[in-house]
Amino acid sequence: MREEIIAAGFGGQGVMLIGKILAYAGMLEGKQVTYFPSYGAEVRGGTANSTTIISTAEIPTPISSHPDVLLAMNSPSCKKFGSRLKKGGLLIANTSLIEDVFKRSDLTIMKIPATSLAHDLGNKRSANMIMIGAYLKYKAIVSLKSVEKAFSIFLPGKKDFWDINKKALRLGMEYEGR
């Protein structure tokens, strides 16, 4: 088993956190994991992306040229990384910010308006959790329990915040998107 996941969007959407949480959850389940952030020269406003690899075997490189999964949070990152997806790969697109979803017949594409769903939920910043939820629905690469545990380690925040993100995760898992 080996899964290469790229989460991409613009700075502030929490794409780095997506990667870290998935990696941590994988580690909690005894798998080999790596997390690799993009570290571009731009500090703000550029596209941000992170690569997470979860595997039962040793991971030679934390960098993925042909990922299995893309969690695209905005339009430029959908274009940039969508073309690199493996044949038969999974694209989860945040349609709140992506009008034209990348078209490739060899992909499983899930559209989910994560940003507006998060807005309705009461916290725009939990769009990234909705994306993770949607991903877990398609591939139970790690369990919801592990993700929640990882979340509590990376964001040992206030209870309200914690609750809303838990809801966001479930919202993503329940969403019927095509």
Binding site: A23, M27, Q32, T34, F36, E58, I59, P60, I63
Partner: protein
């Protein structure tokens, strides 16, 4: 012991703290900034000294001063910054002071880029600064090695009164990978040369200047004798299947990770392949090559540069024709499949 997820740069920092480093001096440069920031935070917690210096030149000389007074001191930087530190490193080597210098390599020459690279091999193992000195150079290839080798670096530095370099790269520094933060039992090395003020003892001096006739020659002989001791005792290297292999891939650091996977791929396809992963780049694991006398054996050296360590492999293999090279500079990272293809071609 449970594993935790940390970025490589922070792993280096934590290892240093656990090894008793309480004096860190550094200047920001990508891709090692997490280490500087981590040390700033941790030194506050453990009551150590963190100082953001005005330049890399100042940082390495602050290390020199702290080490002269007996502290376990460290600095870190990335390629262009390490170039600036070369002056101080040469002095530290000449004065025989312990120090740990971390280089999280990026692309060069010049300002280059901030992508991972292995282009500072020559600088690290062949000199860098002026004079006949040697750095002990440790090359980690995963987060656990970042931790273990950083801790080891402090012991080696104290034992031999010599600067030790951790040669990592942007990939290792930025990556998060599970790591076990084992308790480190640091070696307690007596330092009868430390400057404390000449109380109830003759005054001491620490210097690298030897103007008297023959004095510098003698000093250099002493250094060389030390380097011979290090060569005899401190070579570290990981090998796999080298006696049976037809093709032995040689790589260190990040490229060694990829190499391992490529060798496995080759084996699965019935190719007799093995690898040599030098952990100490200096002292270089010469014996491993010299022991493989079989003339039909081929070496493939994989580096994220235009061919640096390959010169050492050629030297040790004794026959240039047996050695081929695969690598590029400028942020290039080899693919496992491509390394595999090169292995296949050599059979």
């Amino acid at each position: 012991m449970s594993k935790i997820l940390m970025c490589g740069n922070e792993v280096i920092g934590e290892a240093a703290v656990q090894a008793g480093c309480r004096h860190y001096f550094g200047y920001p440069i990508t891709p090692q900034n997490e280490l500087t920031a981590y040390m700033a935070r941790r030194m506050e917690e453990v009551g150590g000294v963190f100082l953001q210096s005005e330049s890399e030149l100042a940082a390495i000389n602050m290390v020199l001063g702290a080490s002269a007074c007996g502290a376990r001191a460290m600095t870190s930087s990335s390629s262009p910054g390490i170039s600036l530190k070369q002056e101080g490193i040469s002095y530290i080597a000449g004065m025989e002071l312990p120090a740990v210098v971390v280089n999280v390599m990026r692309g060069g020459p010049g300002l280059g880029n901030i992508a991972p690279s292995q282009s500072d091999y020559f600088q690290a193992v062949k000199g860098g600064g002026h004079g006949d000195y040697r750095l002990i150079v440790l090359a980690p290839s995963c987060s656990q090695e970042l931790y273990d080798l950083t801790a080891l670096a402090f012991d080696l530095a104290d034992t031999y009164r010599n600067p030790v370099m951790i040669l990592a790269d942007g990939m290792l520094g930025q990556m998060m990978e599970p790591v076990t933060l084992k308790k480190i039992n640091s070696k307690r090395v007596k330092k009868p040369w430390v400057l404390t003020g000449a109380k109830n003892r003759p005054a001491r001096m620490l210097r690298s200047l030897f103007l008297e006739a023959g004095a510098l020659e003698k000093h250099n002989e002493k250094l060389q004798e030390k380097y011979r001791r290090i060569k005899a005792k401190e070579v570290r290297c990981e090998t796999y299947n080298i006696s049976r292999a037809e093709v032995i891939v040689v790589a260190y650091g990040s490229s060694a990770r990829l190499t391992k996977a490529a060798v496995k791929m080759a084996e699965e396809r019935g190719i007799k392949a093995g690898y040599i992963k030098p952990i100490t780049l200096w002292p270089f694991p010469e014996e491993v090559f010299i022991n493989e006398k079989d003339k039909d054996k081929r070496y493939l050296v994989v580096e994220m540069n235009e061919g640096q360590m390959v010169e050492d492999v050629e030297r040790c293999a004794g026959d240039r024709k047996r050695v081929s090279f695969y690598g590029h500079a400028g942020g290039w990272i080899p693919q496992v499949e491509d390394i595999f293809k090169r292995i296949k071609k050599l059979v």
